[in-house]
């Protein structure tokens, strides 16, 4: 069985692209307890993150079953998730206040 992206924990809302994913592609995503299909909305470079569900603005982004930051805006499933729409929750005066 082959897949294009992998999810590290079932509670995650992003997957890691195991190859470059192109807009419009329907890709197979492997998760520990399930497999799902996602339509890619924009190019996702190799090893970058793909949203596998719709994510509300300000919601936690989860990888490894843990929070890796929060979304800056609403993110649609199939989008590329990176520094443009994902912000760290740590080491900033705003967050530590």
């Amino acid at each position: 069985m082959s897949w294009d992206a992998t999810v590290l924990a079932d509670s995650d809302n992003v997957a890691v692209a195991l190859r470059r994913l192109e807009a419009g592609e329907r890709v197979t995503v492997h998760a520990p307890a399930r497999a799902l299909e996602v339509t890619v909305r924009e190019t996702v470079p190799l090893f970058h993150k793909l949203a596998i569900a719709d994510i509300a603005a300000g919601a936690d982004i989860r990888k490894y079953g843990q929070r890796i930051g929060q979304s800056r805006d609403a993110i649609r499933a199939g989008s590329w998730v990176h520094v443009h729409n994902l912000a760290s929750c740590r080491a900033s005066a705003a967050h530590s206040a």
């Binding site: 082959s2 890691v16 090893f47 929070r67 080491a91």
Partner: protein, 388 residues
């Protein structure tokens, strides 16, 4: 993983075991570094550790320099040391502290050579030649994996590090620790966002609190400096490769430490009090991080990378590991272990862990790493504050 066979090592008079038998030319003052390097060029095989600093260090800087230089001078992989420095009190102090380990140690002082660097060089070559010949009489002896002390490092990480290379190292660490060995994980800023997972594995509440406090201190340093960690750590190379936040990087990085209980947190270059898994509260940049771990007594480093990282320890063979297929293909004579077959699902993590553990035993027993072949090694002692 099955219980592995042992390793062939050098038994030291102080009870430690070395995986190499280096002659070390240790320059403890900035004035004598060039002479240390001249001596090492004249006596091939000698290693150099040279600090660019000397007098005027204060507080923590003075303590860390002294602790690191002595620790490197009596490192398990060092069979004999020539200590060189500008003036007597410090050279004598360092040489005596190293000599207490039972190793052959000699000293040379620029003041006692009429401040003549050429005289210093000539005397140093004669001493180094004698020490190296004496060292060559030593033979390796069998030992168990319990004698292994691993330094854990990652550099120029990409998402393949957290996906494969770091968990792979974690499995090997678990096996070495199960045999009674030791491992240290450093780079405090890369616990940030994952500290709750580390604290949950602490031996007791005091250690858990130490872990949380160490992370908080680094986080405050970043905030006080007005830094946005994104673009700094993760750095530009990490970000281009797909790591977005320090939390994401940390959650991948800490998997190098496997699953064992964390016995405690040591300071930079500080030796842990016994076997097991330890954390080191120290800076993250590879040269000073690796030197801190090696000065703590690690004989061998496991160093994962995503896109490639050239740094290796000068004293501890450093096994470079990548699971990024492009990196592994590109850096064939610099990466020691290719884990891309796991990423491409042609091998399991357990298969790769068995192969990596076999390589650890091999390298510990004498097989050269690429970093050793290419003479890439260096030791860099941290500096923190202003000096006089």
């Amino acid at each position: 993983m099955t219980t592995p066979a042992g390793v062939l090592v050098y038994a030291r008079p102080d009870g430690t075991v070395g995986v190499r038998n280096h002659l070390l030319i240790l320059s403890i003052t900035g004035l004598t570094g060039p002479t240390a390097r001249r001596i090492a060029r004249a006596v091939p095989g000698a290693r150099v550790v040279a600090t660019p600093y000397g007098s005027g260090l204060l507080g923590d800087d003075e303590a860390v320099q002294m602790r690191s230089l002595v620790a490197l001078g009596r490192h398990p992989n060092v069979g004999a040391t020539l200590v060189i420095g500008a003036s007597p009190p410090k050279v004598v102090e360092v040489a005596e502290a190293i000599g207490a380990s039972g190793r052959p140690v000699e000293r040379l002082i620029l003041d006692e050579c009429d401040h003549d660097a050429i005289t210093l060089t000539e005397r140093g070559i004669r001493i180094a030649a004698r020490l190296l010949r004496e060292l060559s009489r030593q033979r390796r002896v069998p030992a168990g994996l319990d004698s292994m002390f691993l330094a854990l490092e990652c550099g120029r990480s990409d998402p393949s590090s957290g996906l494969v290379s770091n968990p792979l190292v974690g499995k090997v660490v678990d096996a070495v620790l199960a045999a009674g060995g030791t491992a240290v994980l450093g780079e405090t800023i890369e616990w940030l966002g994952a500290e709750h997972l580390l604290a949950a594995r602490a031996q007791d509440p005091r250690v858990a609190e130490h872990i949380r406090a160490a992370v908080e201190r680094r986080e405050r340093m970043a905030i006080a400096a007005g830094l946005d960690l994104t673009g700094n750590n993760p750095g530009p190379t990490n970000v281009a490769a797909g790591l977005s936040t320090i939390e994401e990087k940390s959650l991948g990085a800490i998997t190098k430490g496997g699953s064992a209980t964390i016995r405690g947190v040591v300071g930079i270059a500080e030796a842990p009090a016994g076997p097991g898994l330890w954390l080191m509260d120290a800076p993250a940049y590879a040269p000073e991080s690796v030197t801190g771990l090696v000065a703590a007594g690690a004989q061998l480093a496991l160093f994962t990378t995503g896109v490639g990282n050239s740094f290796v320890s000068g004293l501890a063979p450093t096994i470079k590991i990548s699971a990024n297929p492009a990196t592994s293909a590109r850096l064939r004579e610099q990466l020691d272990f290719d884990a891309s077959d796991v990423l491409e699902r042609r091998a399991t993590l357990d298969d790769a862990a068995a192969r990596l553990l076999a390589l650890v035993r091999d390298v510990a027993s004498g097989t050269l790493t690429w970093g050793e072949v290419l003479d890439e090694g260096e030791e860099v002692v941290s500096r923190m504050g202003p000096a006089l």
